[in-house]
């Protein structure tokens, strides 16, 4: 998946940590909808919500411990108020939602200087999931590596449209 959209990004916060995604993959940003918890899912899946008649999986990256290797409180951050928005992303044929707060458009003004690779420069996030760190309005923002991140969340790789997702059988049993 290309970052597309040149350098246009959408920024958001996860418990105070700045993160960004390519705007090209973002379909829309909404208020946090009613999310129903689904037993048996990965711990970082907050649940699903109905979005245009489709079951949209909602991910809470604050619960994705692998992302927060630089912080001791990884996995215990869910529940804070910094997740009042749902960022709906298109990933091939799949749509998924990410919870976040303080969502804003971000211009890629170049990489932050100094301490490259240091955990504090990656906003406490593991370098495995950070493509690079940007500086925007004086704040460090981690541009997430969506290929790696979504793959690690279990989201199938983005594929050309027209292929049906395995496991999405007729829920009515027909």
């Amino acid at each position: 998946m290309s970052d597309g959209g040149a350098d246009r990004l959408i920024g958001f916060h996860l418990d105070g940590a700045g993160a960004a995604l390519p705007l090209a993959i973002v379909r829309e940003v909404t208020e946090r909808p009613r999310v129903v918890r689904v037993p048996g899912t990965h711990p970082f899946v907050s649940g699903v919500t109905l979005h245009g008649g489709v079951a949209l999986p909602v991910y809470d990256l604050r619960r994705f411990e692998s992302l927060w290797s630089g912080r001791e409180d990884a996995g215990h951050r869910a529940g804070a108020a910094d997740a009042d928005r749902l960022i709906v992303c298109d990933w091939g044929e799949i749509a998924l939602g990410l919870l976040g707060g303080r969502v804003d458009l971000v211009e890629d003004a170049g990489e932050a200087r100094g301490g490259e690779g240091r955990e504090d420069m990656r906003c406490g996030m593991s370098g495995d999931f950070v493509k690079r760190v940007l500086r925007f309005h004086g704040e460090a923002i981690a541009l997430l590596d969506t290929d790696r991140l979504f793959a690690s969340l279990g989201v199938p790789a983005a594929e050309p449209r027209g292929r049906r997702e395995t496991g999405e059988d007729d829920p009515a049993g027909g």
């Binding site: 129903v36 918890r37 048996g40 990965h42 079951a55 279990g154 829920p171």
Partner: protein, 128 residues
């Protein structure tokens, strides 16, 4: 399709009504009791699927038991209440993506809009 609306702790779920052979209230049915991880009803033993444990919910003080009938076998599921039976169009039921589940076997197959928010549809085939 006709769905039986049930609640399990704070969770709200639905079960295809066709799959429910009987709703057993132990307070009214003397010939029902639990023995180890099985339910004994009228002398017959049934496996019990613990939906409370699967959902991370605490069992209420007065559960009722759904006797589910599959093509090959029957099983019992404890719920905290059976609310109503409603007709829900199959087109209103959205499939759950398989990749969100931690294990291949999953207890739910869809979600549909309900008054107070989305409600999950139990996958009785996965239980039976």
């Amino acid at each position: 399709m006709k769905l039986l609306m049930v609640n399990v702790g704070e969770g709200r779920y639905a079960v295809p009504a066709d799959a429910v052979a009987q709703i057993v209230d132990p307070a009214l049915e003397a010939d029902f009791h639990l023995e180890d991880s099985e339910a004994v009803f009228r002398g017959e033993r049934f496996p019990v699927f613990d939906l409370h444990a699967a959902a991370g919910e605490r069992r209420g003080p007065a559960p009722v038991y759904l006797l589910l009938q599959g093509a090959r076998r029957r099983a019992v599921v404890a719920v905290d209440g059976a609310e109503s039976i409603r007709e829900v169009s199959a087109s209103d039921i959205a499939p759950l993506p398989a990749f969100i589940f931690a294990r291949p076997r999953r207890a739910f197959r869809g979600v549909f809009p309900d008054g107070a928010g989305p409600r999950l549809l139990l996958d009785e085939d996965a239980l039976l």
